[in-house]
């Protein structure tokens, strides 16, 4: 891996954006400024950004319920994302999507899915269209350890395998699906499932290391771009927060020691140390970076606050390209 300082700093910037954006969103949920709830990527930033930055700007990706980080990682501006969480007209989906349904087609984000596993076939289809049209675009499906038990993943892996589709199946194994520890509901090892479907399966044990993730996903992307077909990449990581903000499951299901040992492996802290140690940036520069990201988040909130809510009639728009009179 020989990445330019610019890219390395951009990785840190995007991880910071995700962290600060989600921290702010969490607060806004608790204060009632965001309706419903949000699922944060806090703790998983290395896994998100390592994967997103291995993709090109025009490449596609799909997300799941925990997907603020994905468009941010792919380069989305924060304002329309934050406005979407609040349900404003300027939101990236015009307020119709909300936290569970962010999508930013401008950066290749084809959408989150509140339905666990359900977006994996969509990413596979985007890869099919790249293949048929020969446009060289790669597609990546983000999903969790919980989603890895949905059958559609294996249908997708098989289809992508027989058609050599340029798609990467990226499992964000944060070791829990809601309250359920992955090891109690997963038979075998997720990455090992790739072999039976005729594709490479890689397990990134240190998902808190953004470069380790980048490297693994990058080779999968190169393979896909070459026309050699799909890969499965499993990244082991940890969510620092509760499943969703405001939810109180108690702590029984996650061991306190386990949690604190993972908190010590904060991907942003780790990468900052490395940037300094490797002489990529000075502490001052990184402080400045952090401050500038905070400003971006403040600006996103200000943008949101200044934005109007959509007109009620918007509820009836965008269902069809060609409106049907049937709406009551």
């Amino acid at each position: 891996m020989n990445l330019s300082p610019e890219i390395l700093l951009e990785m840190q910037r995007r991880m910071l954006r995700i962290r600060r954006f989600d921290e702010r969103a969490s607060k806004m949920v608790k204060r009632g400024h965001i309706p419903g709830t949000v699922h944060t990527s806090i703790g998983q930033e290395a896994q998100v950004v390592g994967a997103c930055m291995a993709l090109g700007d025009r490449d596609y990706m799909t997300g799941n319920h925990r997907s603020h980080g994905h468009p941010i990682g792919k380069g989305s501006p924060l304002g329309p994302l934050m406005a979407e969480l609040v349900g404003k007209a300027t939101g990236v989906c015009g307020g119709k999507g909300g936290s569970l349904h962010l999508a930013d087609f401008k950066v290749g984000s084809l959408g989150e899915s509140g339905i666990v596993g359900s977006s994996i076939p969509i990413a596979t289809g985007a890869a099919l269209s790249s293949k048929v049209l020969g446009n060289g675009k790669v597609s990546l499906a983000f999903f969790g350890d919980g989603a890895a038990n949905q059958g559609c993943l294996y249908e997708a892996m098989n289809l992508a395998g027989v058609w050599d589709l340029p798609v990467i199946f990226l499992c964000e194994n944060n070791q829990y699906a809601l309250s359920t520890p992955a090891h109690t509901v997963t038979s075998g090892v997720i990455a090992d499932r790739a072999a039976g479907f005729g594709m490479p399966g890689v397990r990134v044990e240190d998902g808190q290391d953004v470069l380790a993730v980048y490297e693994a996903v990058n080779s999968a992307v190169e393979r896909a771009r070459r026309g050699d077909g799909p890969s499965l990449v499993e990244v082991v990581t940890y969510r620092f927060n509760e499943h969703s903000e405001g939810l109180r499951l108690g702590t029984d299901y996650r061991d306190a020691d386990e949690r604190s040992s993972w908190l010590e492996r904060d991907p942003i802290v780790l990468f900052r140390r490395r940037l300094v140690a490797d002489g990529i940036a000075l502490d001052d520069e990184l402080d400045e970076l952090e401050a500038s990201v905070l400003t971006e988040v403040d600006d996103a909130v200000a943008f949101t606050d200044a934005s109007p809510y959509p007109h009620p009639s918007v509820a009836f728009a965008d269902l069809y390209t060609d409106p049907i009179g049937a709406l009551a």
Binding site: P35, K96, I115, N149, T186, Y309, P312, A315, A328
Partner: protein, 339 residues
């Protein structure tokens, strides 16, 4: 009698059913930690019924992977071979994942095999609409299951009904789908302390009336009652009927009410086209036509998907206002014809 929440009543019915019959098991995602509040357990805050895991053990409390298709199918297979599972599917929007199992196995197996099997299995799920969760969590899909012969469809609207209908579902030898409205989970009401069950196919007349019949479903029931109260102030007497089970449907009660009132409004939170409201309207247009003195109005969710923004969502569901408006329209026509 005791005061219980709708959610607590479900927990109580589950506990009683499990105590009554060892073949009853609970299968579902996050049931061990009681994430949704009906199986006791680790998330104590919402548990009113103790820790099911402690009471019944892992053999009978089956915490699953996120695999709805095999969950539903395995419950069906288990029901065909001696168990009586209660399946907690959490959100109704996840049922589509298992649609093939519902239609092609759960609903058909007894019939196709000439009665060799029966399928005593209950599928619970909650409709989270009205809570700004967006299109993926807000579905109210009971009409599509009503179109599948072989399933029984239950839509309780009160704590009393929730407990009694769930128990009847567990005791039934046929597959039952129960759709709970999440907005009703917190509502409280009187519930008998002893075990009881409510027979399927018996509607509940919540309020008698003479000018118009309002048939209301699920979370539209309290809205219809509120509308009826409001209408009473302007001298309009509305009868409010909750069918409680959509399959089987107590059409006798609905028809005989319309025969008395001559007018029908159906309030149904499902999407309009091919809704339960459509079915009820069609039944009355066929079987009580002679009594009808005004058009049948359906108050439903329009045929759009559910938007996230609080500025957009609330307007979509049947409310006391839209129900009362519909009643005024049909009653107004009576006034016109009488004039």
């Amino acid at each position: 009698m005791t005061i219980m929440s709708y959610l607590g009543a479900i927990g109580a019915a589950q506990r009683e059913a499990m105590e009554a019959d060892e073949r009853v098991v609970i299968i579902g995602e996050d049931v061990e930690a009681n994430v949704y509040g009906t199986t006791g357990g680790a998330g104590k805050s919402r548990a009113e019924e103790g820790d099911f895991l402690q009471m019944f053990g892992r053999n009978r409390i089956r915490n699953t992977p996120i695999s709805e298709e095999v969950i539903v199918g395995a419950a069906a297979g288990a029901a065909m071979t001696g168990l009586r599972p209660i399946v907690d599917l959490s959100y109704s929007s996840f049922l589509y994942m298992a649609m093939d199992q519902f239609v092609n196995q759960v609903a058909k197996n007894r019939y196709m095999f000439g009665g060799q099997a029966s399928l005593p299995v209950v599928f619970r799920s909650a409709m989270f609409y009205g809570l700004n969760t967006g299109a993926h969590h807000s579905d109210r899909p009971y009409p599509m299951f009503m179109n599948v012969p072989g399933l029984k469809i239950v839509v309780p609207s009160t704590p009393y009904d929730a407990k009694g209908l769930l128990r009847a579902a567990v005791d039934s030898d046929d597959p039952v789908l129960i759709f709970e409205a999440c907005t009703l989970w917190g509502t409280k009401g009187e519930v008998p302390e002893e075990e009881y069950s409510i027979p399927f196919g018996v509607a509940n007349i919540l309020r008698p009336g003479t000018d118009v019949t309002i048939v209301a479903i699920s979370s539209a029931v309290p809205e219809a009652v509120a509308a009826a109260e409001e209408l009473a102030l302007s001298g309009i007497s509305a009868e409010v009927i909750d069918p409680r089970t959509l399959v089987p449907l107590d059409k006798e009660t609905i028809i005989s009410s319309v025969q008395r009132t001559g007018r029908l409004v159906v309030a149904d939170p499902a999407h309009r086209t091919c809704s339960a409201a459509a079915e009820i309207s069609a039944i009355v247009a066929e079987e009580a036509f002679e009594s009808l003195r005004a058009p049948i109005i359906r108050v439903t969710t329009p045929d759009t998907q559910i938007p996230f923004s609080p500025a957009l969502e609330k307007q979509l569901y049947p409310s006391r206002t839209t129900i009362a408006d519909a009643v005024r329209t049909v009653v107004g026509e009576r006034v016109m014809t009488q004039a």
